[in-house]
């Protein structure tokens, strides 16, 4: 498959006044044309900043190194004007909290029209008609009337639909959806995910679906990257990730999923919390929470290496080189190799 976006060795340091704190430690990810890449990990693992940095949206406090290529062309460190041209046009992004992601003092119509003008040169009546068509496309009834309303007059789910319509306005090749359903309740969440699936199928755009919830990512993604402590710690096609998860962290995430078909059981969440970027342990950053960690895990950061027979499955865990972890008895994940359909 043709690579659309390629991130290589992306590193982010935040200027904290006196010192720099590294929040992202050399992340490499590829998105192929038309592909859905899921990105999971608990809050604070670096999921959002990876993609914000790729679009140059992190601001002046962030020092970024590494390479970001769009269709083979380097865009990391590109002039602001060039980046602005890509944003919303080639790569669109939607965010976690739709209601505060829309400008409260402008009407919906104006906010969509702005994108239409930027990327398709549309103004006036044609922009208006196209904006109405887009609202219709994302499942909002009474589109022409809605265009004259303000974000606060609509529910969170509606606002996320509007964000999606705005993202579609530039006819992007890639949509980055950063926790698009986290702020919404379960039914609305499912509707938004269905909408994204449908739009993607029709337009053929690639999708990066970011979530702290593996369940959200599981159904839609072709491939999943699991992030922890500012690194990608496992990456595989979705089937293989669920069939044979390598990293204890991934196993923990899978174990924490509610079991739809199986008997009811208590969800087993991973004990402990994600370390802050300035408090990472010396070796594997998951080691302090890991049930199978031992001394060697603290020695150095484990390399990201192929796992199992599959060429496309990678993991960064010393304990699971070449096969399943050896001491898995205490792991919550291993009794349930969940494979959602």
């Amino acid at each position: 498959m043709e690579t659309l976006l390629s991130i290589k060795d992306l590193t982010i340091d935040f200027d904290q006044g006196k010192r720099f704190v590294r929040a992202l430690h050399g992340v490499s990810l590829n998105v192929a044309r038309g592909e859905v890449l899921g990105v999971v990990g608990e809050s604070g693992c670096g999921k959002s900043i990876t993609w914000l940095a790729a679009l140059g949206l992190l601001g002046s406090k962030a020092r970024i190194s590494g390479s970001v290529r769009l269709n083979g062309q380097e865009i990391a460190g590109a002039p602001e004007n060039d980046l602005a041209g890509l944003r919303g046009g080639r790569i669109a992004m939607i965010f976690q909290d739709p209601s505060s992601s829309l400008n409260p003092v402008h009407r919906i119509g104006r906010q969509i029209a702005e994108a239409l003008k930027l990327h398709r040169g549309m103004t006036g009546a044609s922009a208006n008609a196209e904006a109405a068509r887009l609202l219709d496309r994302v499942g909002i009834a009474n589109a022409t009337r809605r265009l004259r309303e303000y974000p606060h007059e609509m529910s969170g789910g509606m606002n996320q639909r509007i964000m999606i319509a705005m993202a579609l306005a530039g006819e992007p090749d890639l949509l980055i959806a950063d926790e698009p359903t986290t702020a919404l309740d379960a039914t609305i969440q499912a509707q938004i995910l269905d909408l994204l699936t449908e739009l993607r199928r029709d337009s053929g755009m690639a999708l990066v679906l970011i979530s702290h919830d593996l369940g959200v990512v599981a159904d839609m993604s072709d491939r999943v990257a699991v992030m922890y402590g500012g690194r990608v710690i496992e990456e595989a096609d979705t089937g293989s990730l669920f069939d044979s998860p390598a990293h204890p962290y991934t196993r923990g995430l899978i174990a924490a999923l509610p079991d739809i078909d199986g008997p009811r059981r208590r969800l087993e969440s991973i004990p402990g919390t994600v370390p802050a970027p300035d408090q990472l342990p010396p070796g594997c950053s998951f080691a302090p929470r890991c049930a199978i960690a031992s001394k060697i895990c603290d020695a150095r950061v484990p390399a990201f290496l192929p796992y199992g027979e599959k060429q496309s499955h990678f993991a960064a865990c010393i304990k699971c080189r070449g096969g399943a972890p050896t001491e898995t008895a205490s792991m919550p994940g291993n009794k349930s190799a969940l494979v959602p359909a």
């Binding site: 949206l57 602001e80 602005a84 992601s101 409260p104 402008h106 702005e114 606060h152």
Partner: protein, 311 residues
């Protein structure tokens, strides 16, 4: 909406009444206008006549109710100093005060708003530090000190401008500039924080992610939102157009309402003090209402809420 405004007006009237009442009690109990105006050497009969004439011989609560009864009939009383209507005495000073406070308001906005916006846009750079240093200096130094320093430099040393009085337009320059600079410092600081608050909002990131250039993000998305809280402080400044010049008028002997107030308090010239307090109260209330109505116009969130709240 109408209901909401009526409620606000009612509350404001209660506030003004309380202020006027407090002033009445304090002025009446804190000194005898007869002695102050006639002088301590005047004959006892003169004192008695003066007190009888102004009703000062009656119990204070009788005076109080008589005063309010008169006010409700539109009679705000006369100045004890020269017997003229207090309204006229105050009224003839208003243009003089506005002659310095209006240009000062212009200076405040013309310097304060852009300075605050720039400081926020260039946060933590030398631009921001410089602007904030000046701003902090501007409102920690009392305006009479700044006034005296400016008078020292431009009147005493350079001899370019007069240091006090009101004979020519040149006399208005120093009081105006003093007030303008102090106000600009306050506005700059307020605008900066309003702007920073807005720049941190998710919709600003959305505007950038959409592909807008930064200057368009600022112009189309940040400024309109930051303008909303800034309205409050502008309303406050407009509300203090009449009374905000007390200190500066005293420093530069500018014969406006502020200086009249100081003199009237010293003389216990109650009717004049009360007219000024009412005037101040009413301009404040008026400005406040105007801000409220404007809020409803510029902030779509409030527009809806008020429509639902009011009838």
């Amino acid at each position: 909406m109408v209901q909401y405004l009526l409620m606000k007006i009612f509350r404001a009237l209660v506030t003004v009444t309380l202020i006027v009442s407090a002033a009445f009690v304090v002025l009446r109990l804190s000194g005898d206008p007869a002695i102050i105006i006639l002088g301590p050497e005047a004959p006892p009969e003169a004192f008695e006549a003066f007190r009888r004439n102004w009703g000062l011989d009656q119990p204070i609560w009788v005076q109080y109710f008589k005063y309010f009864a008169a006010v409700f009939q539109g009679d705000l009383g006369n100045s004890m100093r020269d017997g003229r209507s207090a309204l006229v005495v105050v009224g003839e000073r208003i243009p003089l005060t506005l002659a310095i406070t209006l240009p000062a308001l212009f200076i405040k906005l013309a310097i304060g708003l852009p300075a605050g916006v720039m400081a926020a846009l260039y946060r933590n750079t030398w631009v921001d530090r410089l602007i904030m240093m000046l701003s902090v200096a501007g409102f920690t130094v009392p305006s009479f000190v700044l006034g005296l320093v400016l008078a020292m430099i431009f009147a005493v040393w350079l001899g370019w401008l007069p240091s006090g009085g009101s004979d020519t337009w040149a006399h208005a320059v120093l009081p105006t500039v003093t007030m303008g600079l102090v106000g600009a410092a306050v506005i700059a600081r307020f605008t900066r924080s309003a702007m920073l608050e807005v720049l941190g909002q998710p919709y600003i990131r959305t505007a950038s992610a959409k592909g807008l250039l930064w200057r368009d993000v600022v112009r189309n998305h940040a400024l309109p939102n930051a303008a909303i809280p800034t309205l409050t402080i502008i309303g406050f400044l407009v509300g203090s157009l009449v009374a905000g010049a007390v200190v500066v008028e005293s420093v530069f002997s500018w014969p406006g309402v502020g200086r009249l107030l100081v003199n009237a308090v010293a003389n216990r010239d109650l009717a004049v003090v009360q007219v000024i307090l009412l005037l101040v109260g009413l301009t404040m209330v008026g400005a406040n209402l105007a801000v409220d109505i404007l809020y409803g116009i510029v902030d779509p969130r409030l527009r809806i809420k008020r429509l639902q709240a009011g009838s």
